[in-house]
């Protein structure tokens, strides 16, 4: 187990290293000059040169990378080019906000998706299944900006129940933020819901088709016991991995959703950074997203290993 963790952590480190190189080098392909960009078209040559010096832009590329990477590891993520404020506290605060939103969304779509998936599997090829499958496929396919705007049209503008705009104060706590979280959370959830429902359905169908479920039924066990103890215990195991893989999707969904609702999360910050060409912000934000994604996958693998006797106990 310890060795396994070590190897997985090693791989995550490698991933982050390569991802950082990719992100760093992509952002270096920028047409035009960063200093020029920051100072605008009418800046003087001298001012630009000074800024270049200040930002280390005259150094060779690999030195620039090493400086940046060393800074990132030690917590010095540089200053925003736009606001001239340190990037790190800003990113971490927004990360917290995104986590809040993601948390609410996960609480909605994971249980609901599992329930729908199991129902669809039990009613396989009959109407409930066809309905759930069609709806979940539609949900998976609908971009968040479409569902988000639709929800705003209905619940904010039409019915006036919930705020259309979620641009809360970035430092708000959960209770203050909650009313503003509902619509964006539902928006993000719909995609995840369809995804979890489909995966749970196929996982459950696989289990329902096994000999050991037939055996359990023919042991004369009550139907509820067969479902709860024999089917679900096996069918929900892969869902752990599915939920983790869905995190990547969730992160993408957050970028769009936060933009739709103006919610001050990491995704909104990244879009903002890109629109303003704020290089340090983009680099740090992207790295954090990659790290979160990698770690959640690791967590899922460990949980899966602990829940699955075949892996936990070995041969």
């Amino acid at each position: 187990m310890a060795l396994y963790l070590l190897r997985r952590l090693g791989f995550i480190f490698l991933t982050l290293l390569l991802a950082s190189i990719i992100i760093f080098s992509i952002t270096q392909f920028l047409p035009g000059d960063v200093a020029q960009m920051v100072l605008g078209q009418f800046a003087t040559e001298v001012a630009i040169e000074n800024l270049r010096e200040e930002l280390g832009l005259n150094l060779p590329l690999h030195i620039q990378y090493l400086n940046w990477a060393a800074g990132f590891i030690t917590g010095d993520w540089g200053d925003s080019l736009v606001s001239r404020m340190p990037v790190q506290p800003m990113v971490m605060q927004r990360l917290g906000n995104s986590a809040m939103l993601a948390g609410v969304a996960i609480m909605i779509y994971v249980p609901l998706g599992i329930a729908l998936g199991v129902i669809a599997a039990l009613k396989r090829d009959r109407y409930p299944d066809q309905a759930i499958t069609a709806v979940s496929m539609a949900f998976v396919g609908l971009p968040e900006f479409v569902t988000g705007l639709l929800l705003i049209a209905i619940f904010a503008i039409g019915l006036g129940w919930l705020p259309a705009n979620s641009s809360i104060d970035p430092g708000s706590n959960f209770v203050q933020a909650f009313p503003y979280l509902i619509l964006p959370a539902i928006t993000v959830s719909l995609t995840g819901l369809g995804y979890i429902a489909r995966m749970t359905r196929s996982g459950t169908i696989d289990v329902l088709d096994t000999d050991y479920i037939r055996a359990a039924e023919l042991k004369g066990l009550p139907a509820a016991q067969v479902l709860l103890r024999h089917v679900l215990r096996n069918a929900l195991l892969p869902t752990v991995t599915v939920v983790a893989m869905g995190i990547g999707w969730l992160l993408g969904g957050l970028i769009v959703t936060e933009t739709v609702f103006g919610y001050p999360g990491l995704g909104r910050l990244l879009v903002y950074g890109i629109q303003r060409r704020d290089l340090p912000l983009i680099q740090a934000g992207s790295m954090i997203v990659v790290a979160v994604y990698s770690l959640s996958n690791l967590a899922a693998d460990i949980i899966y290993g602990l829940l699955n006797p075949r892996i936990r106990l070995g041969r």
Binding site: I23, P143, I157, L251, V260, R277, S286
Partner: protein
Amino acid sequence: MAKDNRGNSKPSSPFSFLKKLRRYPATAIGFIIVFLFILIAIIGPSIAPYPYTEQKLSERLAPPSEEHIFGTDQYGRDIFSRILVGSRDVLLVAGSGTAMAVMLGLLLGLFSGYRGGLLDEIVMRLMDVILSIPPLLLAMVILFSLGPSRLNVIIVVGFLYIPMVARVVRSVVLDLKTRQFVEAARMRGEKSGYILFREIFPNVLPHLAVEASMRFSYAIFLVASLGFLGLGVQPPSPDWGLMVGEARTWFHQARWILLFPAGAIALLVVGVGFMSDGLRRMLLPGGVSDV
């Protein structure tokens, strides 16, 4: 050797295909939607009632009427015409991106899976790294440095989906490689090229078709999202995602300028999704659906 004389083979006429479709209404709907959109993309621009860039400030934000059946936008442009013309954009951009990803992913997956060893290990680790960055984020970052343009969006889509296609192809190749018909081919001294393209590739095709259709639906999703964020195709192009993004400001006054392009996107993505699911059922009857 190949003669078209298969004894009493199972009938695989287009008729039986239609029969299959009837059993899965969602799949049939999917195929119909995709077919209609392709039709619109081909003839749409020529039947559009107005040029898509024609601005009539006097008629801005006009609600749907006989003249403008989908209404007009903030510049007084005919939304119906823009959607018709935009369909070609969506299908072309997402389609070419998908095609690029499928081609490169196929080659990478085929060779990497077949050769195995260190090359395979390196290629697949690299794919894993790319996959560990959420696609939309990666697309944003790449477009940020390449600059937003139609061509760049195609390149981004193509690049982003290579790892996924390659992974699917590779896993099929790994499975096929150990099948005994491949081993029999090795035992009679077939060249790698023959084994790869004549023995293995035909059996990869059904998986590839399903994967490609799925990637296509994600590509439409991605292109629309990028357009919405203002990082994809730039104005005044009639890109649907872009239209939705621009419409947000006017949304409170004129709901139609948002609903029609958003509806078009939703309809197309869902249609392609249904079609892809149906392809999976028909071409890969063994497995249950799986995202």
